[in-house]
């Protein structure tokens, strides 16, 4: 076999730098952490040694020594939505796991569809208490301003699930929603057996950037590749199952030749209830978003045909890694942080809790 180097190549430590640069540990540390009180010449010398030896700091040891605690806070919309619940679970779970890692996570629900509330809550955050926040919110001017303000006060900001591109957020953690909509469209087109028909689109809120983008992508593909299919205007469910259950019968009464339904939001309860009640002339092709207990069951039963999803565990872990990197001014590994657009059929659904 190809032998591994038995003579362990030990990485240089601060001690080595100190020796080579001819200074003390404390000075090396000051240079390393950009603290004041070192002459320019000395800084030069230390940096040269660092370069020369190819020094890389041992984060574990550093964290051990400084006993630092990272505090990250998640702001989530207050809606009875399974996807949000999954995010909450993942936050709680990761919080336990990372307690040993001196990382504390917390979350808070913010009235949904109320940008003012979100902006207010962001502005009330105390930079003493929190190193970074993750925001799942529609993009509005007030939210944008609140983000820029809190950033100025030294808090790192990640936009979660729905991007806030006009703000100074450090990073967006979520999927490309146009591509997700396109994927849904492609599946829908292929799964429909007829070349004609109408598609009903059920969405959460027209305000939300993620839903808009999904709709856009969906329409693109239907127009390009399935011109015989008509996509109807979106039905706005506002994450309210009862509202949706009332709206749906009307929609089908008005448009009798609907053959497929695209549910672009995570609130699937109303839709599933409606479909289970029966009463429709034909089997609908249904494509939904987010793998949750409910949608998983719908897929299992054949009520849904496909689900586009994003891994909530990955979303939360990625957010935390990025917030840590940002607070420490460290680079992030983009490729690890890219969230995939998952496609699930009944066949490849992961086990619950997987």
């Amino acid at each position: 076999m190809i032998k591994q180097d038995r003579d362990i190549i030990l990485k240089p430590t601060v001690n080595d730098i100190a020796r080579v640069a001819g200074v003390s540990l404390a000075t090396v540390d000051r240079v390393l952490n950009g603290r004041p009180g070192v002459r320019g010449v000395t800084i030069e010398r230390v940096n040269k040694a660092i370069q020369q030896l190819g020094y890389v700091r041992d984060t574990a040891a550093a964290n051990l020594a400084r006993g630092r605690v990272y505090r990250f806070h998640f702001l989530l919309p207050e809606s009875n939505n399974e996807f949000i619940s999954l995010l909450e679970e993942q936050i709680s779970h990761l919080s336990e796991v990372m307690a040993l890692d001196r990382t504390r996570l917390s979350f808070e629900k913010v009235p949904a569809f109320d940008p003012q509330a979100m902006a207010r809550i962001i502005s009330e955050i105390d930079p003493e208490d929190v190193n970074g926040i993750a925001i799942f919110s529609p993009e509005t001017p007030s939210v944008r301003d609140a983000v820029d303000q809190i950033k100025k006060r030294g808090v790192s900001v990640v936009a979660l699930v729905s991007d806030l591109p006009s703000s100074k957020r450090d990073h967006f953690v979520g999927i490309d929603n146009v591509a997700a909509g396109r994927t849904a469209g492609q599946l829908m087109g292929h799964f429909l057996s007829k070349e004609k028909g109408k598609i009903l689109v059920v969405t959460g809120s027209m305000l939300a950037r993620d839903h808009l983008e999904r709709r856009l992508g969906f329409d693109q593909v239907m127009t390009e590749s399935f011109p015989g299919i008509t996509v109807l205007p979106s039905l706005e469910g506002r994450d309210d199952p009862d509202l949706l259950e009332r709206l749906l019968p009307d929609a089908f009464a008005t448009e009798p030749d609907i053959t497929g339904i695209y549910s672009s939001a995570a609130g699937n309860l109303g839709l599933i209830k409606f479909l289970r009640k029966g009463g429709l002339d034909q089997k609908m092709v249904v494509v939904g978003h987010e793998l949750t207990p409910l949608s998983r069951d719908a897929l299992e039963q054949g009520t849904f045909d496909a689900i586009i999803s994003q891994d909530t565990g990955h979303l939360i872990r990625s957010t935390v890694r990025i917030l840590r990197a940002k607070t420490d001014n460290l680079p992030i590994n983009i490729s690890q942080e890219r969230i995939r657009i998952d496609v699930y059929l009944k066949e490849n659904m992961p086990l619950l809790g997987g």
Copy 2:
């Protein structure tokens, strides 16, 4: 906002245990690491303190102190296969990343389709050099025995991509290949516009458990849900593009009404070359495995319609986490280690390197 506990709840340390149990640090450490030389009574006392305080060891500090180096070795089949290349890249990449983490990774290519060679190489591994190995190999009695032997000598073993269930391997890291085949079948069935026709199945080797299982799952779904479709016997490409390019024209000459191709192995080059040459009467529906530069391009161009994949980065990271946990006798977080069956259409293909 919901205030986080400002008074940091510090976790108990070995010192606290020592104090509570009325013993020294060294004794606590001995108990913690199951080292000999402690009276039963004392062990009891220490364990009670550990329970009582809810102590959890700080692995980072422990590793720092012992300066331990983990050495893991990967055994991969020696075949000109993009999927294997991706695995190699991920190993090299992770090896760099984890150097700081005192973890050294290496890999070695083993003659493909030669179980004896694999068994020999496994048996030659020196437990002094390596803490754990990951094996990507067909399951044969000799490999099984070699695995059991090396396990006895204290080396942790992970079966990678293709399981070795009859052996004493510690864990299998890979997808459920029956489910993967079923997923391929479901997509194929839906993507075919006609209800009749024949499907050509191209595989790597009939020896490989993963391919067999995929074929099994594929057949299940076709029989259950698309009874009008005939699935032809597998064409064995042995990861040899030239061989496949020669075999394919014959197959089409013999069976003129083929409408779809299922490529259940990772070696797609021969198939793609053949399809690009044209000469077929109609557009084939093609479902392949593993997202690689080649298959990605085929998807982009419309030569392939869907790809079933497994994330190579996840495979390698998961393997390493598991080998570490096994060498340290630590529990593993099953849910994080479950490898997803990814479905990619042109629309949701991640960027290269993502």
